[in-house]
Structures are given as C-alpha cells and as structure tokens.
C-alpha cells in the first residue's frame, strides 16, 4: 500500500510539474498555429525567434542591469521584430501557393538564427535570471515550484491577451478574415501583407514571452534548446489541431504532463519515442487533432 501511495504521489507530481512546464509548449504551439491559421504555412523558425528574443533580453539585462519584468518585455519585442523579419525573408516574397519553398526558407531561417547565436555566444550556456526561483511550496507530499507557477500564470495571461486581440480588436478581425477567406478580405479593403506582418509580429510577441519563460524555468539559455523546442511546438500544434488556439493550449499542457510521466515510468531512452508515437497516433486516428478543422481523406 505504501508503495502504491508513493508511486501515486510521484506520478501525480510528475503530471503537475509537466502541466505547469507545458505552458511554455502551449505558447510555442499557439505561435505555430496562429501563423498556420493566418497563412496556411508552417514557420519552422518560430521557436528560434522565441529563443533569440530571450537572448536579446539577456543582453539588455547584462548591459543595463534592468529589472526582471523588463526582460520579458524586451524578449517579447525583440522576438516580434525578428518574427516580422522572418516573414519578410521567408514568406513575403515567395509565391503564395509555393508552400514547400516557404517551409524550406523557414527551415533555413531556423538554422541561420541558431548559427548567429552560436557565433555570438560560442555556444556557451548563459545564466538566465529566474523569478521566484527560491519559492518552493510544499503541499502535503507534493512540491510546487514557484517559478513554474509564475511561468504558468504568465502563459495564461498571455493567452488571454492574445484571445482578446483576436476576437475583440480590428487586427484580430482582419487576421481571422484573411485566414478564412483571403480574397474576400482583400475585397473588403484589408491588406493581406499588412495583416500577415502583424500576425507574425503578434506571434513573435508571444514567442518572446515563451522563450524568456523557458529560459527562466531552466535558468540557462543555450542554442541547444532551439531544436527540441521546435519539435515540441510542432507536435503540440498537430495534436491540438492546426490552426486551433484552444487546441494548442490543451495539447501543450497535455504533452508537458505526458512526457514527464513517461520520463518517470520509462526513462529518458523512451520519453521522446512515446511523445512521437503520440503524434503518430493522432496523425493516423485523428489527423485534424483535438480541435482542428476536419481534414478529409482521399
């Protein structure tokens, strides 16, 4: 009985930790899905811009010794600017229907950003300031990390703001209009490119917060974080349903919990295998994800 109780506590603790940390996956997933929803294209460089935003904020923090709140703001703004630049270089001038070219261009964008950061930092990990890193709440047999709780709350607030922008502002209306019927949106006087640029910038804002949150949760920044975060973001986007924001949120939290449980039960060798297997299961049995638009099969 003791063994059962011990395992129960450990597994539920793993689920809780993963759930809180999953908010970073959710934010990255929302960014992917926002761009996919608007343009029908995947921006593989998205997580890289998020981490690059965090690097920019760390540079400001180191140079000017600003407060920790400023770090999140600078990270968000930097990633928004980078997001816009990625749009300009990888999407803006590529023919609308050439999805493969845009995809490959964004893959190039990912590696370019990665190498620029490696070049600037020599690939050395850098200490990233954490908020509430000393806060650790013990509730019965459970422990809750204060910084993860903070990350979770910031994730919730960011998502709330994004939903407000999407459903209560003219920019959101334009974004949804372009996503649903770009020709009609153009006939109504909306500029496709301006709307897409704004979408990339908004997604970048969110990514910058996610990048800073991830770095704050780990306590370190390193280029090695880019690829795993990109892969997790893509998995979250597909499981949540391409183009679905609620789907990305739920999938992000779910994937965070799922991988932590697999880590606890099966270990590091099999953790990613099970997460990718989950992706395959969704692609086969529910290709439109949890909340995506129905994809018909031939």
């Amino acid at each position: 009985m003791d063994d059962f109780w011990f395992e129960f506590v450990e597994i539920t603790q793993s689920i809780g930790d993963g759930f809180l940390y999953g908010s970073t996956y959710a934010l990255i997933g929302i960014g992917f899905t926002l761009i996919f929803g608007a343009m029908g294209k995947l921006n593989i460089a998205y997580a890289a811009t998020a981490i690059a935003g965090a690097y920019s904020s760390l540079a400001i923090f180191t140079l000017f010794d600003v407060s920790l709140v400023i770090i999140f703001i600078v990270s968000a703004i930097s990633a928004a600017i980078l997001g816009y630049l990625v749009y300009l270089t990888c999407f803006r001038f590529i023919p609308v229907h050439n999805h493969l070219a845009a995809l490959m261009a964004s893959v190039g964008g990912l590696f370019f950003i990665d190498e620029v950061i490696v070049h600037a930092t020599r690939g050395s990990p850098l200490n990233f300031p954490s908020m509430f890193s000393e806060a650790y709440f013990e509730v019965g047999p459970y422990g809750i990390r204060g910084d993860l709780l903070f990350v979770f709350v910031i994730g919730l607030i960011s998502t709330g703001v994004l939903l407000y922008v999407l459903f209560r502002t003219r920019l959101g209306l334009a974004t949804r209009a372009v996503a649903q019927q770009d020709v009609a949106a153009r006939l109504c006087g909306m500029s496709i490119h301006s709307t897409n640029s704004a979408t990339f910038a908004v997604a970048g804002l969110l990514g910058g917060i996610a990048g800073a949150m991830t770095a704050a949760a780990v306590g370190i920044l390193s280029p090695v974080m880019m690829l795993p975060l990109t892969i997790k973001g893509l998995i979250v986007t597909v499981i949540g349903g391409l183009g679905s924001i609620p789907g990305a949120i739920i999938a992000g939290l779910f994937v965070g919990s799922f991988e932590n449980v697999v880590m606890y039960v099966r270990g590091i060798d099999e953790r990613d295998m099970y997460v990718v297997a989950l992706l395959f299961i969704f692609l086969i049995f529910r290709p439109n994800g949890l909340f995506g638009k129905t994809i018909t099969r031939d």
Partner: protein, 432 residues
C-alpha cells in the same frame, strides 16, 4: 698595366667569380629552406553547441605555434630551420561525416603532415575508423595520415589505428585517484547517486563505466536504482546500470529536470555525480537547488571543468569538484593561459592539450628529420608518425605527459578543482 698588375687582376677576378658562383649556387638553397614550412591542418567544432571547444583549441594551437616560430621554428632533416604553419583550422561541427570528409581532404589535397582534431569522441571514433589500422598493411587501403587529437577523451580510442594519437587525460586514473582522496577527506560521506546525459557518448560511457565503479571501488555505496551487477571494476555492471538508472538521466538539450532531481532527492545520497556537459549539468544543478537537494559532495565530468559552467550556473555549481588536466599552477601554464586569453580563447583540459600538441609536433618533426617538400609528403607523414610513436613523453603545461606504447593512450598529470566563490580553485594537487 704591368705583368704583376695583370696577375693580380686575374687572381681578383678568379676570386670574385668563385664568390659570385658560390653565392649563386647557395642562394636558391637558402631561399628554398626559407620558403619551406612544416604544415599542419587542424579541425574541431567551430559551430553548433560545442563551438567553444573548437574555438579554444584553435586559439591554443595557433598561439603555441606562433611561440614556436618566434623561437626559431623547427629543425628539418637537412639541418635547416622552418616554421610550423597551420594551413587552416576547419569546422567539423562534431559531425562524424564532416570529420571523415575533412580527414580525407587533408590527406589527399594538402601537404599537411599531421591532422590535428577533433572535438567529439564519437567523431574521433568514426574518423580513426577510416585510417589504416596497422602500419605497413598493404591489404588495408585505409587513409595513411597521422592524427593527433586533443579533445576526444572517451577511453580506448587510440587502439583503433596506429595512425591515431591522443593527448587526452586518462579518466580511469583520474576518477580512481579522486575517489581515493574524497574517501580519505570525507569519512562521513557514505552513499552516492547521480545522473548523466545519454545522448553524449563521452558523458554516458564515462559515467556508467568509470565514475560509478570508481566510487564503489573506494567504499561509497550506490543508492540509485538497484543494480546487483554493479561492482568496483571498470565497466562492471555498465549495461545494467544504463538500463536501471534511465529515469534519472537526461539529454543534452533537455529543458526540464524535475523528475530526475526528485528521484535523486528521494534517494538522499551524500554525494551526487553530475556527469554531463555544461548546459545540461547547469540545468540539472539548478533544478537540484530549486528542489533543495543539498548533497555533501558534488562531483562532475572532466569536460565541465570549464568557463562555460561558470557562465551558465556559477551559483548552482558552487562546491562542484572535478578532476582536470589543466589549471594555471605552473609558470608555463600561467604564461600559456595569458597568451591564449589574449588570442580570444580559454585554456582548459582540452585546449591545453592542443597547446601541448604543438610542442609534440615540434618534437616529432625534429626527431623524424623530415624534408617538408611537396615531393616528400607521404614519406614525411610516415616518418612523422614513426617519430610520434617513438616519443614516450614530453613536458606538458602542468607536468610530464607520457604515452603508453602498448595502448597508445596518454598519461597526464591532473589536479582536482572545485567551484569556490564562483571560481575554479585547485583544492588538491595529487602530482606530489
């Protein structure tokens, strides 16, 4: 002009002609000696997450070669002197195929007599695999090019080919002596556990085959997942340990270590091993700090005794103890450290070996008596290899570096360093 005057004139003319002829004959020879250089080609990770390894090794190699050249270069077989020349220092990015491609290119298209690389153990293993295994084996069409490595540290690689040479620390001896010392200094420390990154060959193998066994050998009790096969011998119970402890291991690029830290916290060990490169070591150390895991001793992987660890987690790494093959503790090491710092690099246990390797090349070239001409490249490479194989020791930066003629592995002096107040401090010097 008188007859005597004419004779004098003839004598003068003959003498002048002889001098002019002698000068004319010797000038090209002098010029050709001055034009010659002994070429080496280096490579290492200069991109990707391990970029600092390649950058530091390059800075150390180039700085040491500049120092050698400033002191007159190296003596060639004909008694003349020539400078050492780094033809280039390529980026192998820690990728096996890229390392092999650079090796083949160096061997077939350059006059370099030795290749000096590479960064990662896996890359070296693959690269050594394409070299000719036994000298003079005509049935083996492997590449015949001497390789002198400074960083790939995984034990046992030098035996792959007789063309491969390594100046890397012997981790089996380092950890054995470390735990002997820790045992005597910390009688209250009885139990241990720890984790490693499973996707990095050096970390994973060193942790599961060397470090854990060395701790057991010196009386520390493993309190991680039960592994009855574990014992004091190198590699004893390695496979079983790898399988049993996988829930407290991680990957190099991981961003969450909560499960692993909690597992180790539950085991409540007196000593924790963090056998990992700086990024993930820092991630795990920070997570331990958050979860208030406070072991009496923290022991790390040799490769983390570097500036990168301090950059990433100075505070969380406080108290971390690591054996290392370099510390600025001798006049030579202090001087080299300053020179390399000015050249934009850091000297650590890996890049210090690149510095020493430049002097090893000088010693081997002078012993081999090579010609260093375009026509004698293959012959020079073979002579150089044989000379390198016959050198049993050189003066390293912190003491003599010797080479075992049977295994081909180096034996280097080492010290134990610890993060104290945010800096690496030498806490014990077993050199005696």
């Amino acid at each position: 002009m008188s007859r005597r005057g004419t004779e004098k004139m003839k004598k003068f003319t003959r003498l002048a002609s002889t001098v002019v002829l002698a000068v004319a004959v010797t000038m090209p020879l002098v010029a050709s000696a001055a034009d010659r250089s002994v070429k080496v080609l280096g490579w290492g990770a200069k991109s990707g997450p391990l970029k600092s390894f390649g950058v530091n090794s390059e800075a150390a190699l180039r700085s040491a070669i500049a120092q050698i050249n400033a002191a007159g270069g190296v003596k060639l077989g004909d008694g003349s002197s020539a400078p050492l020349e780094v033809v280039s220092y390529e980026d192998s990015a820690c990728k096996k195929d890229q390392n092999i491609a650079i090796l083949r290119k160096t061997a077939s298209t350059t006059d370099a007599i030795v290749g000096m690389g590479a960064t990662c153990s896996g890359s070296c293993q693959a690269m050594y695999g394409v070299l000719q295994k036994k000298i003079g084996d005509t049935s083996d069409s492997g590449v015949q090019m001497p390789i002198l490595s400074d960083t790939c540290i995984r034990p046992g690689l030098a035996k792959i080919s007789e063309w491969a040479f390594r100046n890397v620390p012997n981790e089996v001896a380092m950890y054995d002596k470390l735990f002997t010392w820790l045992r005597s200094e910390n009688p209250d420390v009885k139990t241990f556990s720890g984790g490693t990154e499973t996707d990095q060959g050096h970390s994973f193998i060193t942790h599961t085959a060397i470090i854990v066994q060395a701790a057991i050998r010196h009386g520390f009790e493993w309190v991680g997942p039960s592994v009855p096969e574990l014992g004091p011998k190198v590699k004893q119970g390695m496979k079983e340990l790898q399988a049993a402890a996988k829930t407290q291991h991680w990957l190099m690029g991981d961003t969450s270590y909560s499960v692993q830290a909690r597992k180790i916290k539950k085991q409540n060990p007196d000593m924790v091993l963090v056998s990992s490169h700086p990024f993930s070591a820092c991630g795990f150390l920070k997570e331990m700090k958050r979860q208030k895991v406070k072991p009496k001793l923290l022991v790390g992987l040799t490769s983390s005794a570097s500036q990168e660890t301090l950059n990433g987690c100075m505070s969380a790494a406080e108290g971390l103890i690591i054996p290392t093959g370099f510390a600025p503790i001798t006049p030579e090491a202090i001087s080299a450290n300053e020179i390399v710092s000015k050249a934009g690099g850091f000297l650590d246990l890996h890049s210090a070996a690149a510095w020493e390797n430049a002097y090893l090349v000088k010693a081997a070239v002078e012993k081999a008596g090579i010609s260093a001409t375009a026509d004698t490249v293959a012959e020079d490479r073979r002579k150089f290899r044989d000379a390198l194989a016959s050198i049993s020791g050189i003066a390293g930066l912190i003491g003599p570096v010797t080479r075992d003629g049977v295994t081909g592995e180096a034996s280097k002096p080492y010290v134990y360093v610890q993060v104290v107040n945010g800096e690496w401090k030498v806490i014990h010097d077993p050199r005696g």
